[in-house]
């Protein structure tokens, strides 16, 4: 999903910077409040950030014969919302752009939007909808993280198709980029969803009080989850 350095012409790279900026600013504001008012959640924040670090460094093969990587942003988005996940994504993308020539400084805005904001927004919404509908918690987390991963790559395809409609127009270009990104990503998204669901289980077991305080799960649900897997 990394758009490489120099691969977004003006005005697109500026546009994506402008689109991402308000989310990041709000994310930093939320992060500040979290640090001041809910210090006990900081280890969880560290875990969410560390997850993006680990998962986005693993380039996995897929059945299309090419390699891509999961994003790991779903966990942070479910726990802290898409804006804070955006800040976590930004940190990782800067690391990769500076030290690995993976992605780029000029394409940072577009990459932050797809991996840090658009994907996490999907995770956040799917999680909220799932818990409200009373669906199985782990299945909800799985769906949220997997769809966030997949949607990140769909957004990258859209970004590239907008900048390079070519001769086939936006839709044709989108299909071409989606064939490279989104199709490769399907099995990786499933793996990512499964792993994040498993991590969520351990958080439920070890630190349920944080989930209650962040208003993510009611106490009754946590009680039930702990009993079924006690």
């Amino acid at each position: 999903m990394h758009i490489m350095e120099g691969f977004l012409p003006s005005p697109w790279w500026e546009i994506w910077f402008l689109v991402s900026l308000p989310f990041i600013v709000f994310g930093v504001y939320q992060l500040n409040r979290l640090v001041k008012e809910r210090r006990e959640t900081l280890p969880l924040l560290a875990v969410a950030g560390a997850f993006v670090f680990v998962l986005s460094s693993l380039k996995l093969p897929s059945f299309t014969g090419s390699c891509s990587h999961p994003t790991g942003t779903g966990l942070g988005a479910i726990l802290f919302g898409p804006c804070i996940a955006g800040v976590l994504g930004l940190i990782v993308l800067v690391f990769q752009a500076v030290f690995l020539a993976h992605g780029g400084i000029t394409t940072l805005g577009a990459n932050v939007f797809s991996m840090g904001i658009a994907g996490p927004a999907v995770a956040y919404l799917v999680y909220k909808a799932g818990t409200r509908a009373g669906a199985n918690t782990y299945a909800t987390v799985f769906a949220a993280a997997a769809l966030a991963d997949l949607f990140t790559y769909v957004v990258t395809s859209i970004q590239l198709a907008l900048a390079f409609p070519g001769t086939t127009g936006f839709l044709g270009a989108f299909m071409a980029f989606a064939a490279i990104f989104a199709v490769t990503q399907v099995p990786l998204a499933i793996i990512e969803g499964a792993i994040i669901a498993l991590v969520f289980k351990y958080i439920v077991h070890l630190k349920p009080e944080i989930l209650i305080r962040l208003n993510l799960l009611p106490e009754s649900t946590i009680q039930r989850l702990k009993e079924t897997a006690a």
């Binding site: 999903m1 990394h2 758009i3 490489m4 350095e5 120099g6 691969f7 012409p9 003006s10 280890p43 969880l44 560290a46 875990v47 950030g49 560390a50 997850f51 993006v52 670090f53 680990v54 998962l55 986005s56 460094s57 380039k59 093969p61 059945f63 299309t64 014969g65 090419s66 390699c67 891509s68 990782v92 030290f99 690995l100 020539a101 993976h102 780029g104 400084i105 000029t106 990258t156 590239l160 390079f164 070519g166 071409a176 980029f177 490279i180 990104f181 099995p187 499933i190 793996i191 499964a194 792993i195 669901a197 498993l198 289980k201 351990y202 070890l206 630190k207 079924t228 897997a229 006690a230």
Partner: protein, 92 residues
Amino acid sequence: MKYGLEIAVITLIIVFAGIFLFQDAAGENSWGGADGEAAELIEATGYEPWIEPFWEPPSGEIESLLFALQAAIGAVIIGYVFGYWQASRKNT
């Protein structure tokens, strides 16, 4: 089922890994990165990137070193926090 979710996840990973016993990518992609493929598609239209990365890892080995470092930093933090929680739960 105490370990139901664990069993499901491990099965999924084994199935995922098992696919690659039967699949070979001798074709044009040969396990290259999807990012690079997209870049090739763009370059095929005659587009030239207007700016180069200001620093690139000098070799593939150094690149994998940095990727491993990135994963290690994350893994240390995850292990530390979960270990801390596990121990403090046992002590109370």
